[in-house]
Amino acid sequence: MPMSGGVPPLGRTVVLNKPDLGPILDRLWQAGYTVIGPTIAQGAIVLDEVRRLDQLPIGWTDEQEGGTYRLKRRADGAYFGYVVGPHSWKKYLFPPQLSLFTLRRTQDSFQVQPNQEPVPRYAFLGARSCDLHAIEIQDRTFLYGPSVDPHYRARREGVFVIAVNCSQAAPTCFCTSMQTGPKAERGFDLALTELPDAFIVEVATPRGADLLAGLPYREATGEELGAAARVVRDTAASMKRRLDTRDLPELLYNNLEHPRWDDVAKRCLSCTNCTMVCPTCFCHGIEDVPDLDGQRAERVRLWDSCFNPAHGYVAGGLVRPDIRSRYRQWLTHKLASWIDQYGVSGCVGCGRCITWCPVGIDITEEVAAIRGSGGHEAVERSGAGASQPEGSR
C-alpha cells in the first residue's frame, strides 16, 4: 500500500529510493541543521559538513586492519558501503578545542564572559550503531555524571540522527562482542538499511516522520524487511574480531602486574592516536590563553590523552612515568574502571584504535593475552562461525 504524500506513522518501516536522501539533506539544512556526514578527505572517509549527496563516498569502501587504512573503489554504487573512519561524532558534541569563557579584567576584579559563539544544531547522517552507543556513553560522562557540562549539553540536546545499519564489517570491528551493533537499536530519528536499490527506513520519532512528509516512500514488504534483517545478520556473522568480556574488570584488576603490559609497552609509541580516534575517550585539560595586553584571558578546553605524560602530573612528578603504566591506565579504564564509573564499558568495538594505531596494537589481542595466562580460563564461545583471535585461548 503506497503511503507517499503524508507523514509516515511512527514505528513503521518504509522504503525510500536512494536519491531521495537528497531532499532529506536539503530539508535538514532548511530546518536550520548543520548536516554532518561521511565524506572523503585526505585519503580517508571523515566526517564533515555534507550539503549534497555527491559529497558522500558513494561507490567507495575502506580496507582496514591493525595499523592500516586504505580507500578503494567499490564495484557497485553503494552509498554507505564502508565502516567507520578516523573521526567520530564526539568531535562535534565535545569539540577538540573549545573556548569555555573569557575573563576580562575590570578595575578591581574580573568578569566572566561566556563564549557567545552560536552552538550549531547538528544532524548526524550515517551514524553507526557503535557510534550511537558511544554517544550514549559520553552522555553518561557529560550529562548524567557528577556534574552537567553545559557545553556538551548545548550541542547534544537537539541533535538529529539518521543512523545507518552496517552492511559490512571491517576486520577491525568487534561490536558484536560489545553488544553495540551492527544494528542500530535506539538513539536515532531515522535508521537506514541499504539494499542494492533502496533504503529501508525505520521511522523512530515524530520529527523523523516529518522529514519524510511528501516524499515518494512506500511501506516495506515482508520480503524487503527480510532482506534488511539479512543485511545486519550477515554483517554480524562476518565479524572476525572478538573480545571476551566476561569478568573483565576483575580480570584486569587482578593482573595489573601481568608481563603483557611490559610487552605492549615495547610496541606502544604513546602517540595518543587511540584516544583521539576513540569515540568515548573524554579526558581533557583546560588551559589559559592570555591576550597580549593582559586584560583578557580565555579558558580553553582541549582534548587530552592518558598517553601524555602530563596527564597525571602532580607537584613533584608524574603519576604514570612510563608507557607501560600509561597503556595500562588506558586499557583498564576503557574496559574495567569505566564500568565502575558509569555502569557500562567504555569500549563499543568500533575498532578505530586498532586501525589507527601506527604499530597495529590490538585491544582485543591484548585482553586475550592477559586472559590466556591470567589465571582465568577462557571458555570458547559458540560465535556465529567467527574465528577466535590469536592467543585468545
Binding site: 574580573f110 560522562t141 556534574s147 553545559p150 537537539g158 538513539g187 589559559d288 592570555p290
Partner: protein, 291 residues
C-alpha cells in the same frame, strides 16, 4: 520538533551554572608559614556568596590566576573562620609562583568547594589519631579545629606530625592552644641540628611511641604518599581495620567535578570521590606502582 526520544533519563535542564566558571575572590590576608609556604585568606567578592560559602574539612578549591592557570588547593580553614577561606600554598608550580607575588587586595578566581572530606560524623565518639606530614597538615587543620570545637563528642585526640626540618613545621603558633583544648601532640622532624630539642625521626617512628585501641580509633592521614603508605602498614600491623584508616590522596585535579578524567585512581575520580578515602576502598589501587 521533539528531541531524539532515547534518553538514559530526563535531559538535564538548561541554564545550569558552568562548572568551570570561577568567582572573583579578594585576598584579605597573607600569612607567611614556613620557607616557601604561606596561607592566603580569601573572601568571595560577592558578599552574599561569601556569607553562604560552606565547606567541609578535607575539601579543596580551585584557585585561578587569570591568564596563568588554575590549581587545586585544599581548604585549611574551618567553615566560617576569619579572616576568610584559608589556603596554605607551597610555591612550587607555575601558578603558585605567581600567587606567591600577590598581596592583600589582589583578586583571584575561586571555585569550589569540591570533593569529599574527612568522615567527622562517622568519627563521633571515637578516638581520633591524626597523622600528618609536611604540608599534609593543611587539610587536617580544619579537622583539628572542628574536633576541638566539639571536644566532648570525641574520645582521645592525638596528632602525630612530622616535617623535614624544624622551620618547616606548619601552624606552630597554634600548637599550644590545641594542646590546651585537649589535643595530645607528638611532633618530629626528619633532620635537625643540636639546637632542636624535640624529636628527630620520620613520622611513622612516632607510631611506635603511642598506644591506641584499634576497636575505637579512627586514623586520618595526610602527607607524601610514601609517608602515608608506611603509616598505613604500621597501623594495619597493629590491627586497625582498613575501614578505619582514611587518607587524603593527591592526583592531577583539573576540573574538580569529575569530568576531565585526569585525577583517576582506578575506579575513582579523586576530585569527586575523594580526596579523602577509606583505605579499604583504595588500598588495592594506591599500593599499585604507577597506577
Amino acid at each position: 520538533m521533539t528531541p531524539s526520544d532515547v534518553r538514559l533519563q530526563s535531559f538535564p535542564p538548561d541554564g545550569l551554572p558552568d562548572p568551570f566558571g570561577p568567582e572573583p575572590a579578594v585576598i584579605r590576608a597573607v600569612e607567611p608559614e614556613t620557607p616557601g609556604v604561606a596561607t592566603f585568606w580569601l573572601e568571595l567578592q560577592d558578599a552574599g556568596r561569601q556569607a553562604a560559602y560552606r565547606c567541609e574539612p578535607g575539601q579543596f578549591n580551585m584557585l585561578l590566576v587569570p591568564g596563568v592557570g588554575e590549581v587545586p588547593i585544599s581548604i585549611s580553614s574551618a567553615s566560617g573562620e576569619q579572616p576568610g577561606i584559608g589556603h596554605t600554598i607551597r610555591f612550587v608550580g607555575t601558578v603558585t609562583r605567581v600567587i606567591e607575588r600577590l598581596r592583600p587586595g589582589d583578586v583571584l578566581g575561586l571555585r569550589g568547594p569540591y570533593g569529599k572530606g574527612w568522615p567527622l560524623e562517622q568519627a563521633r565518639g571515637q578516638d581520633i589519631l591524626v597523622v600528618a606530614g609536611g604540608l599534609g597538615l593543611a587539610p587536617l587543620r580544619p579537622v583539628i579545629r572542628m574536633l576541638l570545637a566539639r571536644r566532648s563528642e570525641y574520645g582521645r585526640l592525638l596528632l602525630l606530625y612530622g616535617a623535614r626540618q624544624p622551620v618547616d613545621l606548619l601552624y606552630h603558633r597554634e600548637y599550644a592552644g590545641w594542646e590546651q583544648q585537649g589535643l595530645a601532640m607528638l611532633v618530629t622532624v626528619d633532620r635537625a641540628d643540636a639546637t632542636w630539642t624535640g624529636r628527630v625521626g620520620v613520622v611513622p617512628t612516632l607510631l611506635g611511641r603511642i598506644d591506641f585501641d584499634p576497636t575505637r580509633t579512627i586514623a586520618f592521614i595526610c602527607g607524601p604518599e610514601i609517608m602515608m603508605r608506611f603509616t598505613v602498614y604500621e597501623l594495619l600491623a597493629r590491627r586497625l581495620a582498613p575501614g578505619r584508616v582514611f587518607l587524603s590522596i593527591e592526583r592531577n585535579m583539573q576540573c574538580g567535578v569529575g569530568l576531565c578524567g585526569r585525577c583517576q585512581l582506578g575506579p575513582y575520580f579523586v576530585c569527586k570521590d575523594g580526596p579523602v578515602f577509606a583505605f579499604n576502598r583504595i588500598g588495592r589501587f594506591v599500593n599499585q606502582e604507577h597506577f
